[in-house]
């Protein structure tokens, strides 16, 4: 195999990961096997790491595989597994196709900015919350962009086609559930997308080498990786095509050097170089000159120090983080409602990286990105929005797909008994009391009969048995009173276990007294 073939392999894997991950976020079939989600997302660094910290197990060592591969080869992750990386590559590729190919230049590392972002990310779990990770994790950013911008566009196109066909009495394309978008989340995602678009167009992979904390961490490891890309001075003609083709702007043709901490292993330089002047070589083979001993020793100490510090800090994520929640939601609601399987607001808020995969797959769209419901630090983490819809009793897709274990895997029988919130009833808002007519939409929708009807004058009035309530929000969604609901769910800070309504079994076969009762 020639070195120039590496680019083809890289392109194959990057497109594979990109398309599969993209499919998971964009599809609205809602019938995808959860195993596909687990497999495709297995190697995503931050989700895998957070998941591992949650449930240390041999099944969630995707991040370790990434670390090992980086130790061996450098940042191959950034040009294959990472969907945000491939998104930038596609932007760069199309801009090169559309306009005259731009020659890359060598850029100095933006050290201060790069390590500020990195340490901010490392430190944030200690002092605030997972917020900074939520905002910077490349997988979650990719998810936010797809879920908040591209999925709505796709749904819009799908639904337009389906309405068009309806007019021709063709019902073959079903419209899909759409409950509007959450503006703050869309604005943030647009900001993310345009930042990445602009940076990719102007400066190649600058985002990955300055903003992205995963890029910086893997870059630190790449500094000491077993193999590295370097210039072979004996074969190099000094033409500079490698530098022109470098997306990361990390090849310096004048010094004939490669900054391997910023190299994303796209292997473009191998293909560009006509003289085999760029090589993939062992880092610690004996070489005669360059770097004085002193310098390399200092560099080694600095790198190991930085590395151990970062690993240690990530380890501190293990500790429970107390999240201060400032409630800005109307006074009657004490807590927002987090999805079933998320154990407690604390667990959810400290483990959710806001990748919005659950938002994207939720068939009823009851899961919506929050704004300030969880407080500023829970910005964009999904919450149950019972104005939009209610949680389907038989569904647990969000738990199936969550890559960080913020929503824990749960079986359906268990899910049907997880109480994520408690029902509250405002009798004086209720139609039965105010208008004296029948309603009962709440009890009708209640899957556990935590809301049942008792005789009231000539009518039926809702009555609560809170022990049965799982907080699915069906009553709140169905309640037709405006502007304030008569029945609503107040979130549980810690999820509890509901009691199942048990009644004596009815006689299976009905015995008629007469042949027909009429």
């Amino acid at each position: 195999m020639k070195l120039s073939d590496l680019k083809k392999i890289r392109i194959f894997f990057s497109l594979l990961f990109f398309l599969l991950t993209g499919f998971l976020f964009l599809n609205f079939i809602y019938r995808v096997n959860p195993l596909l989600f687990d497999t495709v997302i297995y190697l995503q660094f931050i989700p895998s790491l957070v998941n591992f910290i949650n449930v240390p197990s041999l099944f969630v060592i995707g991040f370790a595989i990434v670390l090992l591969s980086t130790f061996f080869l450098g940042r191959v992750y950034c040009s294959t597994v990472c969907p945000l990386g491939t998104l930038q590559d596609l932007i760069i590729y199309s801009s090169n196709k559309l306009s005259k190919k731009k020659k890359s230049t060598f850029e100095k590392e933006k050290k201060i900015l790069r390590y500020s972002f990195f340490f901010l990310t490392l430190l944030s779990p200690l002092f605030f919350s997972i917020l900074i990770i939520n905002l910077l994790d490349p997988f979650s950013s990719f998810g936010k962009i797809l879920t908040n911008i591209f999925q709505p566009i796709l749904i819009f196109i799908n639904n337009t086609i389906s309405y068009f066909l309806f007019n021709l009495n063709n019902y073959s394309v079903p419209p899909t559930e759409f409950r509007g978008v959450e503006l703050p989340s869309v604005i943030f995602s647009l900001f993310l997308f345009f930042t990445i678009l602009t940076l990719a167009l102007l400066k190649g992979r600058l985002y990955c080498n300055t903003v992205c904390p995963v890029g910086t961490l893997l870059g630190l490891i790449a500094k000491v990786s077993f193999l590295k890309i370097a210039v072979d001075e004996s074969s190099c003609s000094g033409c500079g095509v490698c530098q022109y083709s470098c997306k990361a702007n990390c090849i310096d043709k004048s010094n004939k050097s490669v900054d391997y901490s910023r190299c994303v292993n796209c292997f473009n330089c191998f293909t560009a170089c006509k003289t085999d002047g760029i090589v993939f070589e062992r880092r610690y083979k004996r070489r005669e000159k360059r770097e004085s001993v002193d310098q390399s020793k200092r560099k080694f100490l600095f790198d190991t120090g930085l590395y151990s510090f970062s690993v240690a800090t990530f380890g501190l994520l293990l500790q429970k983080i107390i999240v201060y929640k400032k409630t800005l939601i109307p006074e009657s609601r004490t807590f927002p409602v987090s999805p079933p399987g998320s154990v407690s607001l604390d667990h959810f808020n400290s483990n959710c990286t806001a990748c919005h995969l659950c938002v994207s797959v939720c068939p009823t769209k009851v899961l919506q990105p929050s704004y300030l419901e969880y407080g500023l630090l829970g910005f964009l983490q999904p919450r149950m929005d019972f104005i939009k819809n209610f949680c389907n009793f038989e569904c647990k897709l969000c738990a199936d797909v969550c890559p960080t274990d913020a929503i824990k895997k749960i079986d359906i029988a268990e899910k049907k008994l997880v109480q994520i919130g408690k029902v509250k009833f405002i009798k004086d808002n209720c139609i039965v009391v105010t208008q004296g007519t029948e309603c009962g939409a709440c009890s009708e929708h209640c899957p556990t009969k935590a809301v049942y009807m008792i005789p009231y004058k000539n009518l039926f009035l809702p009555e609560l048995k809170v022990d049965y309530c799982i907080g699915c929000g069906a009553c709140e969604f169905a309640c037709p009173t405006i502007p304030y609901k008569s029945i609503y769910i107040d979130g549980n800070e810690f999820h509890q276990k509901a009691v199942m309504k048990k009644e004596e079994e009815l006689k299976k076969e009905f015995i008629y007294k007469e042949e027909f009762p009429f």
């Binding site: 079903p174 038989e394 009962g440 009815l506 042949e515 027909f516």
Partner: protein, 307 residues
């Protein structure tokens, strides 16, 4: 073409065309069974499987061709409100739905459409109820019902509280409407049968709930939309309706009621449930408004016991 052959063909064709005008019955004689349609107001069957009971019931009404003519479009509206399995008896029995579609197609129907404006997520409800598969397998077409753009405004002239409401376009685009509810307990209207099932062809149910639910149900029934009401009383949800909590809430009745009179169908089914139509407010109101009759003693009923 030879001129002689041309003239011969033309004459031949003319004769055939003319004679078919003279003797229309010769050509359409197969349909003459229609005129033998029975004069039963209501058919009740018990003791069989859903599809067998329907076969017997529709046969005693003169067969499906009494209601469905060749090339007509048919709308079959079961209750598919909930994302639950058929055993929980919260949705119409899929076997019954499938058999009705088969009868319609055999009678020459061009298309048979099925939809419901579900309460739970519609795709999940269609799937889990077993109705989507039953419809596809029997040759019907499953249509979405949860999108407002599929609904058109319609005035209800004789409505007291409900004067206008949005109805699914298929109700207007089809020639025959067959209402296929399931008999169930209901938390606020006591029972949900044929009239209550029509809440699945309108869009804004919240409006009904806000504006005297029982009166709205009766008001809407004054439109007399269904040509036929087929009530599934095979499995009956006796309590915790309309969704049911567990299988313990279900009893097997193995019964079926068919009537063109929606109030009569409701009244007979109410009796099967063990209640009196007088005690179910929306049936009482609809009877008063002369939508139909709840008084079963005035009706010609065919009672078929398959036991």
């Amino acid at each position: 073409m030879d001129r002689r052959i041309f003239i011969k063909t033309l004459t031949g064709a003319g004769v055939v065309a003319y004679s078919s005008l003279l003797f229309p019955n010769v050509i359409t004689s197969k349909k003459s069974k229609n005129f033998l349609a029975s004069d039963f107001d209501l058919v009740a069957v018990r003791g069989g499987e859903p599809e067998i009971m329907f076969d017997r019931a529709i046969e005693s009404l003169g067969g499906m061709q009494t209601f469905v003519k060749k090339n007509q479009k048919v709308l079959v509206k079961p209750n598919i409100a909930w994302d639950v399995v058929p055993e929980k008896a919260a949705n119409t029995n899929p076997k019954l739905v499938a058999r009705i579609i088969e009868h319609c197609l055999n009678a020459g129907a061009k298309d048979v459409y099925v939809f419901d404006h579900t309460c739970d997520n519609w795709q999940r409800a269609y799937r889990n109820s077993g109705i989507e598969k039953a419809v596809r397998d029997s040759g019907g077409k499953m249509v979405p019902g949860n999108d407002e753009r599929l609904y058109q405004n319609y005035d209800i002239k004789s409505g007291k509280r409900l004067r206008t409401t949005k109805i699914h376009e298929l109700v207007f685009d089809t020639d025959v409407f067959i209402n296929v509810p399931i008999l169930k307990h209901h938390s606020s209207t006591k029972l949900t049968i044929a009239m209550k099932n029509l809440m699945g062809i309108i869009y804004d149910r919240g409006y009904w709930h806000k504006n005297d639910l029982n009166q709205c149900i009766a008001d809407f029934a004054t439109l007399q939309k269904p040509l036929l009401n087929v009530v599934d009383c095979y499995r009956v949800l006796k309590r915790n309706g309309p969704r049911g909590v567990s299988l313990a809430d279900v009893a097997t009745y193995k019964a079926l009621v068919i009537s063109k009179d929606i109030v009569a169908a409701d009244a007979a089914s109410t009796r099967i449930f063990g209640l009196e139509a007088e005690d179910i407010p929306h049936i009482r109101i609809a009877d008063q408004m002369k939508v139909g009759t709840k008084n079963l003693s005035n009706l010609k009923i065919n009672r078929i016991n398959l036991n």
